[in-house]
Amino acid sequence: MDLKDLYRDVIVDHNRHPRNFGKLEPADVHAQGHNPLCGDRLTLYANLDGDRISDIKFEGSGCAISVSSASLLTEAVKGKTRAEVQQLFEDVHALLTRHDANVDLAKLGKLAALSGVREFPARVKCASLCWHTLNAALESKSEPVTTE
């Protein structure tokens, strides 16, 4: 286990300077995510242009992994269709949890920086919280999402 695999430069940078951070007003959809074990909380806001995410922002607080993962998510999904987001979610989930994952890292772009997380099982929930929250927002669920 190498710490540098977890806290890669991209992760540290996005933690220090989260992109698309703040509230989107008005927002077509939004959802809250909570990881009770560590206290991570975030809210995702998105505007939709038909089937496409035209804008997305997040706010909240959490560990470096959860904040940077949310920041990377906002950059990755902006402009994508629901179907494309779903495919990305599945790829990221495989990347985070499966050693045998056959994921095309090039296709994932900066999100590939999260690949080190799977070596730290206790931290997988931190990285996946924002993705579950995005799913909830797109499905317009009113109950906060938890990773427990």
């Binding site: 286990m1 710490l3 977890l6 806290y7 540290v12 933690n15 009770p36 074990l37 560590c38 206290g39 991570d40 909380r41 607080s61 959490g62 560990c63 470096a64 992994i65 730290f120 206790a122 931290r123 931190c126």
Partner: protein, 414 residues
Amino acid sequence: MSALPTSRTQLDVAAIRRDFPILSQTVNGKPLVYLDNAASSQRPRAVIDAISHYYEFDHANVHRGVHALSQRATDAYEGAREVVRRFIRARDTKEIIFTRGTTESVNLVAQSLLRPTLQPGDEILISALEHHANIVPWQLVCEQTGATLKVIPIDQRGVVDFAAFERLIGPQTKLLALAHVSNALGTVVPVADFIAVAKRHGVPVLLDGAQAIPHAAVDVQALGCDFYCFSGHKMLGPTGIGVLYGRRELLERMPPWQGGGDMILSVTFEKTEFNQLPWKFEAGTPHISGAVGLAAAIRYLEGIGMDRIAAYEQELLAYATERLSTVPGLRVIGTAPEKASVISFVLDNIHPHDIGTIVDSEGVAIRTGHHCAMPVMDFFAVPATARASLAFYNTFEEIDRLVAALEHTQRVLG
């Protein structure tokens, strides 16, 4: 780096550490520094051997057979009860109930003492320092009975507000349930003062001693509490075994809370006659090896001496508090004048979860999170803290390792 202090307690910590096989390993390529003792302590060889010996030579079911092994197992189990009685200075072994741990002990009192008697308008009084195990069982019994849970506030140091307590207690109060030592902050609650007031009001007192009993001698008669709850695994013993001490007069009046074997004298389909104390509260085959291991743990602690343990841990606490205060951006959460060797802290701009992972990469084990005390986190407006909890087998050098690992954390994420 400052020179390490010389311990005045003359505890041979190097020899003590050799008694704990788990401590002499490396984690992530570094010698393990185990500072998560408030979550669970480690076990000395004496405890591991006692459990092995029991299973290799003495195991059978207790209180049942006339054969040799059943007698030996019964002697070992009931002998452990006597060891516990002596350790906490209880009057009678009938007052020592074996449970699965502190949590079950609290639940037993909630369901057996309070559930049959509480009514709407009655109140249970706890403090804002409590572990979830000393909150949720009372919430459940309040839901079941219509009674109300009242909470004594704490101040910014993590001290329970005594004046507020005196205002909150009254004829409607049916139980005062307090932590003896806070698991999240280390605050030692001056429980004797609280008990004195509770006695004047005729209110029974339950103490959650899970975090107190590993750190100092406990005398339940001197304290004058009615119930004292603790767990084996935080005091060098096995998991899954704990104790409820209860004053005999109260235990006699309380109905059984679980039914089954061992807790009965005779059973017909028409009527069951319950066993006497303490077995009335121990339905089913108990955790015999757990009791054996707990007794071995107590003997080990007594061999060193709880007073010497307390004195040395206070030296560790003072040193750790001073060294941590040199880390830029570090804030200690919980600054009560009297503390056990537990230090909760936060670092500016670094989430506790990241601290935990990064110091682990340096071989240092600490707890991060809400410590099963979410209301305490809410009070201090932090989502979580990092917590170093020290035992008598920890060293000054290990505290330096923690400080170095925290400085490393700041470099990684700085």
